[in-house]
Point group: C2
Chain length 168, copies 2
């Protein structure tokens, strides 16, 4: 069975067992928290933070980077839906630690014959520094409320632990 068909089939079991208590939750996150993390398949933030439905926004992309699209999402999250604490969580063994922009551009040229000159794929070489850089990008945005707290963490994919990154 194709991957998507299998997942839709699995959803039927989930929906059949959905508790009444979570069928009419409000949209604003009850813990007023938004989480930014990587799309990595080994990370299930709802599980490793033991989130209940309705508690926190979860924003994910390659690397968990604070791109302009993430700032867009955080503006919606804070100004329209009331979140006030942001977690930036990068992780060990991240693909964005092992590739450079030049390598990714060369892969695109080889695979598809396209020129990705000037595209920034937001790779990084220092895991903790990348977290600090993204905290700063969020804090320095003039669109994010000044009373928001932004804290950084690294998720260790081999232990499942979320460890704080100290301010650099």
């Amino acid at each position: 069975m194709a991957g998507i068909d299998d997942l839709v089939q699995r959803n039927r079991g989930f929906a059949a067992a959905l508790p009444l208590s979570v069928r009419n939750l409000p949209a604003p996150p009850s813990k007023r928290v938004a989480i930014l993390t990587c799309m990595d398949a080994r990370m299930h933030p709802e599980k490793f933070l033991r989130l209940e439905p309705g508690e926190a926004h979860v924003i994910r992309n390659a690397g968990g980077r604070a791109s302009p699209d993430v700032i867009r999402s955080l503006i919606i999250s804070s100004h329209l839906l009331g979140t006030r604490e942001y977690m930036v969580i990068h992780h060990t063994d991240c693909g964005m630690l092992t590739h450079t922009n030049d390598e990714i551009r060369q892969t695109l040229a080889k695979n598809m014959g396209v020129d990705a000159t000037g595209m920034d794929f937001l790779p990084f070489t220092d895991l903790e520094q990348s977290v600090r850089d993204d905290i700063r990008a969020i804090r320095e945005s003039r669109f994010i409320p000044t009373d928001v707290t932004v804290r950084g963490f690294v998720y260790d994919v081999t232990t499942g632990r979320v460890l704080p990154v100290e301010d650099g």
Copy 2:
């Protein structure tokens, strides 16, 4: 307890119970699937698709929109990590259905005195059409492999069901 502190505390319980079988999974998603969906706090894609660790990339932002940053993530997902099926999942009662760009800009001006003229927050008025628009944005990107399958769905937050969106 502050929201983040509480979540970090919950993580300790998760990590202590992490099975050995998921401690050394490879980075490429085993189902070769990437999921694009909304950051909404009521949606836990790992649960509503019953994902196992390591099976699928999960990309999330406000609305589940196929922004340039999502294309960046899908380039990494496909070319570097081998995914070949993409699910675009928007949802009922989405905040992006209830606000316009003008309203969001006015909120920013009122809350922070900032001018967000020209910023597009990617709201939409037709839920199924927004899914079709994002499918097309992904399919039409010259950076996404041509053999990738892209399919659209709506998640119903009151029933937990993922329903297909027909091509328009």
